[in-house]
Symmetry: C2
Subunit: 306 residues, 2 copies
């Protein structure tokens, strides 16, 4: 699956991923009103609103981007109807040729991780039939439980040609609380990074591994070190834009081949219409604002890499 992601990145010349993390307060009033008129102020109504919101953004940007990253929490908060909107979003993005990174940050003991893996990137057996319940292309995984919590995901990646992005150094302010603790003089995230590189060797694509890493844009110096520790690992980089990162800070997440990283922006793209820069589009044309924000982001990053 990393081959497909790289192919999409080369085609669009955009190592970027749009985070489809729809908070209700990002959804323009006309979309919310329409959804509530049909389904009431219910979980179903909220789910319809975020689905229509997503569809607008995907329709306006899919030709410019290689991938999307729906954050499942933003759907799960609306219960079963919300998760149905997640699934609809995954399927729709596939129809548009996009690689879908399910930002699920799951991770558990072996047998439990195996269940998450078949549910999200694999197939589950029911009697004589098999089903691919959520069917993302990549998922994010939390490594706190160690190898036997990660291996079941890797096994499914090998069987189904799917991929992972494993949390190494996250973008949030307090990520250092545990991740930066020094172990024999080196921070924990470096140990995790080394382990991700090892896991990655067991599931290679043509030039990069199907097992990637998450390293926050907000920690560019650490990204530089991790880039070297994990040379064949694709790095998913959240925290661009709204969380503080900028294109010029991100060059060290890439290898000399211009590949090896994919930069995520969520709020900065999907709620672009709320920014002063894109205010001229107006709430009604939120999706055009998102397209303009994607164009600007692509320029920023291509410029920094060029």
């Amino acid at each position: 699956m990393i081959n497909k992601l790289i192919e999409n990145i080369k085609k669009t010349n955009a190592p970027i991923v749009v985070g489809l993390d729809p908070m209700l307060n990002y959804v323009p009033k006309h979309i919310q009103d329409k959804a509530y008129a049909e389904f009431g102020e219910t979980l179903e109504g909220a789910a319809e609103a975020i689905w229509q919101f997503n569809k607008g953004i995907v329709d306006a940007t899919y030709d410019l981007i290689p991938a999307v990253k729906p954050q499942i929490a933003m759907y799960e908060q609306f219960g079963l109807p919300g998760l149905a909107a997640f699934k609809k979003t995954v399927d729709y993005c596939h129809e548009k040729g996009l690689v879908v990174i399910g930002d699920i940050k799951r991770g558990d003991i072996g047998s439990t991780s195996a269940a998450y893996a078949v549910g999200h990137i694999g197939k589950v057996k029911v009697g004589s039939k098999t089903f691919a319940p959520f069917d993302e292309d990549f998922v994010t995984v939390n490594p706190y439980l160690g190898s036997d919590g990660v291996n079941p995901f890797i096994k499914v990646c090998q069987e189904e040609n799917k991929g992972l992005f494993i949390l190494v150094k996250t973008s949030n302010p307090s990520s250092g609380e545990f991740q930066d603790q020094l172990i024999g003089g080196r921070p924990l995230y470096e140990l995790v990074g080394e382990q991700v590189a090892k896991w990655g060797e067991t599931c290679m694509g043509d030039t990069y591994s199907n097992i990637g890493a998450v390293v926050g844009a907000t920690y560019p110096e650490m990204g530089k070190v991790l880039r070297k520790i994990m040379p064949k690992t694709f790095i998913l980089v959240p925290g661009y834009g709204a969380q503080g990162g900028k294109g010029k800070d991100l060059v060290h997440f890439f290898n000399e081949d211009g590949l090896g990283a994919i930069i995520n922006s969520s709020r900065g793209i999907i709620a672009a219409y709320k920014q002063e820069t894109y205010a001229q589009f107006g709430e009604e044309n939120y999706a055009d604002a998102s397209r303009a924000a994607v164009v600007a982001m692509q320029k920023d990053i291509a410029g920094a890499l060029g």
Copy 2:
């Protein structure tokens, strides 16, 4: 919510929790056949099978136990119908007076953890209405992202009188890979434990905190140390029975008041009928086998504590 859990434990004299982690191969053939006859060999069929299986076990054991712990992965692997069975299970256990610990092991950056928290233990706003989508009493949380990934869960616990169990030292064989790494001479899990104790101070019940910890039964010596580091923290202890722990190994997870820990058994209870000890019940009477296994577990632990 910790007060309610303690009240239930005292009432049953059973500091135990039944892990409702239904794998399809645990579900007796007559239940699967009936579900597939009605819904086909589909995700809906699988969901119906695990729901009926759960219902049988809950009906046979609810008067003996204070709490259940459904592992959401086992439902999520069957997609939306599976998650509907999870929700049905949560609601049914509430009807029976049980405390429900959602074993979801979520954890993310702040705004995302906030979405998980409202979805699972809080309320989400849709227009002028509010909903409690999954409505568990406790959830398990992964601490790898540090305080700003955990605080949104704690905030909801404070508002809604709910609780957490935060992963400190997990029961699986490779949990030591990162959790045991020495930081200034002390393992990471002790640092996490100290932090859990601090977080716990902000959300106290009468005698114990609403913020608990997960420490595996498979590591009793570490449990002894962590018990002292987190004196007011309730410890959820997975790994009893099938994963290897025994009652006598678990006494140090408890405080001198006989409280402070709750021992989980999943497979050992819900698939008891597959063990030689309970084979006389037969597959048809799987729920009676589960009841007998609960009685034996209660005796084992009460005996060890007595």
